[in-house]
Structures are given as C-alpha cells and as structure tokens.
C-alpha cells in the first residue's frame, strides 16, 4: 500500500499539480509568460507558454517515473529512501514552481507585468524540502533491512583444501561503444578535427575498462581487474573482509555504471558493468564493496569459507 502511495499516487499528484495550473489558467496567461524573477519579485526572464508547460511537466514526469522505478519491490532500503527523496524534491519543486508561475502571470497584460510575490521564492523550495523529508522518512520503512543473521553461504572448503575462484562480468555494449569511439577518434584525427578526436578518444578510454571486470578470490583476498587487460586493479586483503553474499544489482541504485564511490572516503564503493548477479563484500570498519560478477554465489561462498578459516587460525 505504502509502495503504491509513494511510487504512484504521490508522483501522480505532483504531475497533476504541475499540469493543472496551466490547463486552468491557459487563456489568462500572456504569451510569452514571465519565468524568472529577481530577488525582489521583478520579472527578468520569459519563455513561451508551451515551453513552460513542457519544462514543468517534463520534470514532474521524470520525477514520477523515478519514484515508480525506485519503489518497485525487492529494492535496497537506503536506496529507496534516497530515490524517493530525490524524486519527491524534483516533483514537488516543479509543481510548486508551476503554481507560483501561473499565479504571477494570471491576467497580466505582458510578461513584464507579472510580479512574483517575494515569499513564493522561499515557499516553493521550502515546501519541496518538507515534502522530501516526509517522503524519504516514509520510504525508509518500506523494506525492512534484510536480517544479517541468515547463515553465510559456503562452498564447504575442507581444512586442508586450497581453492581459488575466477570469474567476472562483461558489458558488450560498453566494449563496442568504446571501440567505436576510438575508431571514430582516429577518423576525426585523420580529417584534422583534433578537439573531436581528443573527446572521442577520452570517451573510448573511459568506456573500455568498464566493458569487462575480472574477479579473483583466493586466500590472499579479492582482486578486481578492469578491462580486457585486467588493469587497473583493486585488491582487498582477506584480513579486511568480514563476509560476502550474492546480490541482485540494479545499477541505478548504486549510482550507475563504472567504479562508484570510494572505500577510503565514503566507506562504500561499487564496480558495476551491468545489472543482475553481483557480489556484496562487507569489510572491516563498516565498509561495503559491490562488484558485478557472474556466479557470485560461489565467489561469496568461497570468500566466507576463507574468512572463517582465517579466523579459526587466528584463534588457535
């Protein structure tokens, strides 16, 4: 029920609140309408009525789609709260601005006559902030945090056994895009368009490392290599790892594709090349590392076994 309210009903209200003022007051608005004001409420910018509708409704619609996507079942609780917060801020802000813009322009002869109430400049963002806090608080309770007491997975590693797991993940789209960008860069350079060549080459260089991830687990820890050459490489020592589990990654929840965050600065990082199967590793100091990889369940099982064995060795 709450999911439907936060993901469908509330965003729909923003959408209606952004459309309705224009629809009701359409024939009372000047063309163009005032769309920007000084701090004292004097109009200093204008745009066509249709552009104003497209702008406000467009953002409200984006926010509504965002809210719907992040509130779908099975999502990470903190992700839902942040996502709903951002969507609510954008949706409510543009709805409030749409109302304020229409009120200021109502029955004005020309856009220069459309004075804005000084308070509106404070009320609209203030209202958006309050709505954001309420919505993200409500969203926080949507998914109870997964119980950590669930037994950790295992591959049943014997006391005398040695093991390694190698795997990874691929994104053919990034690979093809990166190679295409590099090829186009060469063409642009040959044609003498150096700035375009440099931009395309940079795009290619940025895309290629995220076309492929190579992941290795052994008793030294976890190693992640980027790109076909497995370079650059990130290594996490086994001593820093507490546990691991399989995770269903949705890139939008973790800030998109590529290497996001920082273990040192934010205590959270993610190496994501595609959605789906992934590995979530809990590290010392409440840090988390998320990695896209096929067969993450086996990787998690082996990591847990190696960590457990290391702990036992430390005790004995």
């Amino acid at each position: 029920m709450k999911r439907t309210v936060l993901g469908l009903i509330v965003p729909f209200v923003w959408l209606v609140a952004a459309v309705a003022p224009f629809a009701i007051a359409w024939h009372h608005l000047p063309e163009p309408i005032a769309s920007h004001w000084t701090l004292f409420g004097e109009p200093n910018g204008a745009m066509h009525r249709t552009s104003a509708v497209a702008l406000h409704v467009g953002f409200a619609l984006l926010a509504a789609i965002g809210a719907y996507v992040v509130t779908r079942p099975g999502d990470h609780p903190r992700g839902v709260a942040t996502g709903v917060g951002v969507a609510t801020f954008v949706g409510s802000l543009f709805a409030a601005i749409a109302i304020a813009v229409v009120i200021a322009n109502y029955d004005a002869e020309t856009w220069q006559d459309a004075h804005q109430h000084v308070l509106a400049l404070l009320v609209a963002p203030g209202f958006a902030c309050v709505a954001t806090v309420i919505a993200s608080r409500a969203a926080r309770s949507l998914d109870p945090a997964p119980p950590r007491i669930a037994p950790l997975s295992s591959v049943g590693l014997g006391a005398t056994e040695r093991a390694t797991w190698v795997g990874g993940a691929r994104n053919r789209g990034f690979g093809a895009g990166g190679i295409a960008a590099l090829a186009l860069a060469a063409v642009a350079y040959a044609l003498g368009n150096t700035p375009t060549a440099i931009t395309l080459a940079l795009a290619g260089i940025l895309l290629v490392p995220f076309a492929e991830l190579q992941v290795r687990v052994d008793d030294r820890g976890l190693a992640i290599g980027f790109g076909p050459a497995a370079w650059p490489r990130v290594h996490v020592a086994l001593a820093d790892i507490r546990s691991a589990r399989r995770l269903d990654i949705s890139p939008m929840k973790h800030g998109g594709w590529g290497y996001r965050g920082s273990l040192t600065v934010f205590g959270k990082a993610a190496a994501i090349v595609r959605g789906g199967d992934g590995l979530e590793v809990e590290l010392d100091g409440n840090r988390t590392l998320i990695v896209s990889t096929d067969d993450a369940a086996t990787a998690a099982g082996l990591l847990n076994d190696l960590v457990r064995r290391r702990e036992q060795h430390r005790i004995t």
Partner: protein, 116 residues
C-alpha cells in the same frame, strides 16, 4: 570457475587441477572462448609451483579441451565439450577405481566391451 585442490590426498596436484578445469567445463562454468587464469597467477592463488599448473594445462590441451597460445593465454576451445569433459573425467575416475581394486587395463577393456 571454482578450482580446489587438496595437497593432503595421494592424487598428484596437476591431476587435481586438470580434473577441476574438466569439471568446470562439464558443468558449463567455463565455456568456449573463456580464458583460464595465467599459469603464474593460478599457481600463486593455489600456492603451487607454476610447472604444476602448466602440466595440468598441457594435459587439458592434449585432450583437446583448451588451446595454449604464446602471449594469448589458455582458452577453452572444446565446442560441445561439456559431455566430452564429463566422459573424460568419469573415465579417469573409473581407471583410478579399477587400479585400486587391482583390475588391469585389459580386464577393464573387456568389462567395457561386455557392457556395450
């Protein structure tokens, strides 16, 4: 692909490594075109001599399951390898079991012929 070996058993380490790769191919965990870890890296991961890994890779190459190219590493080539790798693996197990029961190769062959 999970590769595990147990140095405390009698089975030579290179055979254990080869068996693990065969099993990975049979289970579909390693597919045609997949790269196996470079020998040096796998040796470091499993804490064995690099020549042990190379010996395992050579065996797999001779069985037609992988291809070894200088500078390009070791690639899984077996096309419909899954059943083949499985049969090779079972045959090895059968051979080992037969030896344990003092059954020589000729007798084993006879046994297989009588069954087919």
């Amino acid at each position: 692909m999970l590769l595990r070996i147990d140095p405390s058993t009698d089975e030579p380490l290179h055979q254990q490594i080869a068996a693990q790769v065969r099993r990975a191919i049979a289970d579909g965990k390693a597919r045609r075109g997949d790269q196996l870890p470079p020998a040096r890296e796998l040796a470091a991961s499993l804490d064995v001599n690099m020549h042990t890994v190379l010996r395992a890779y050579t065996t797999l190459r001779d069985e037609g399951l992988v291809e070894m190219r200088r500078g390009r590493g070791v690639t899984v080539v077996a096309n419909d390898s899954a059943p083949r790798a499985r049969v090779v693996e079972l045959a090895r197990e059968l051979l080992a079991e037969a030896r344990r029961h003092s059954l020589d190769l000729r007798e084993l062959k006879k046994l297989l012929e009588s069954l087919s």
